[in-house]
Amino acid sequence: MSDETVGNQITGKPVPYRGGGFLPKSRKIVAPIVFILIIAFWEWGCRTGFISPLILPAPSEAFDAFMNLVNSGLLWQHLAASLQRLLIGWFSGTMLGIIVGTLIGLFSIARSGLQPLVSAIFPIPKIALLPLFIIWFGIGEGSKVATILFGTFFPTVIATYGGIDNVDRGLIRMGQSFGLTRMSIIRKIILPGALPAILSGARISAAIAIILLVAAEMIAAEYGIGAYILIAGSLMATDQLITGVAILSCIGLIFAWIIGKAEKYFLKWRA
């Protein structure tokens, strides 16, 4: 640089900023606002006739149907029946899934024998097997729980062995180098390492369980949210149908919230 330019005042131009972005954050108040706006628009549309009541009942009508359900005391019977099926089916499906997934994750024989089987059965819609389940497990609770169990079992298996496959081999080698027993390595290194994957599998299988609940309650269910929705559907009682669907959505949200809490607690080391 010559002396001349140093002496002169050079007007600098700031370097334009071009970083940042691509980091979506979730802002807490936005979601309720969107929710309220949609409901308000929907209600407004129904009241003004912009949305025909034949096409979609107003939210207030659905709410009336909900209050009827509460006042008649039927809500609790429906909820109790559905939650029982959901919890038993989801819990046993998840537990069996974790066990089988762990076997596939650890043993060559289980891997070569069961992995193709799991891949073959996983994509079958369990709803299609419902008639078989009825023959095998009876028309009562058995077939309903079995549908949910089978539906949640396979994604859990895949999440579990995927999680185990992704455990850092260096940590396992460390365990071996300190002379840890095989059982200790599984219990203290492999399973905790696979836990994040298992929990995100649980998130997916909880949603699948709710989807299958409606299918399972299609046949010979007196009580249950799914049964309530199906009866409402066949009577074209769309206000009741919306109510039932909203209840399912709430159950899903509560499940997701509980799993979120479990993730916070068990995975606090990740932060």
Partner: protein
Amino acid sequence: MDLSLRHITHRYDEVEVLRDINLDIEQGQIVCIIGPSGCGKSTLLRMIGGLERPASGEVLQLGEPPADCLNPLTYIFQDFALLPWRTVEGNISLVLENHPLDAAAREEIIADVLARTKLSDFRKAYPRQLSGGMKQRVAIARALSVRPAVLLMDEPLSALDSQTRELLMDDLVDLWEKENYTAAYVTHNLAEAVRLGHKIVVLSRRPGEIRDIVEIDMPLSARTTENAELEAIQKRLWNLMRDEARAADMELLDE
């Protein structure tokens, strides 16, 4: 307890990685193993500790480890290998839980090794809260807790920045001054090797063979950074390695 490597040869499928390695690791000695990348030095270290089986040859334990030793051959890994879901003390307790120690004895060992590695204030911290140097200190504390007969160190300082590396190197030297541990130390850093090694083994590129063994008699405490004798040795090692390193650099990696 001494270790003796006899005619170690190893190959992965058809590729020969180590050829006829003969080496003695004597008690109280630090043996540094250096060589260009991909020469099989880490593989060799895994064989010394029984984590990998050589295709032929054997690693012999000469004499019995001390009676209070819980895990005679103990590793310190380059990537620390700490369980992220356990705190500092949990990571140390992990390697003690398999031994018949009561809670008080275990607690005593943990407190002792944390004090020796100056980690007592960080007992309850999780690995993610610690710097790289601190993590490696935890790994060293964990290794000391099982009272090893031989420490097997696989590039323990390579994942650290150069300042931290200096600090930890000083710690390793101090520790040796106090406890005279036996160690096999794999590194590609010549300065580390001449600072810490009583014996420096130079491996050739693949298939790794022993090109030379350099013994340094100077006590570790006398090995300061500007030391003409050490620099001469380092230069000699570099001359031994330069062509190998260049050739190794040009090789295709297909492992």
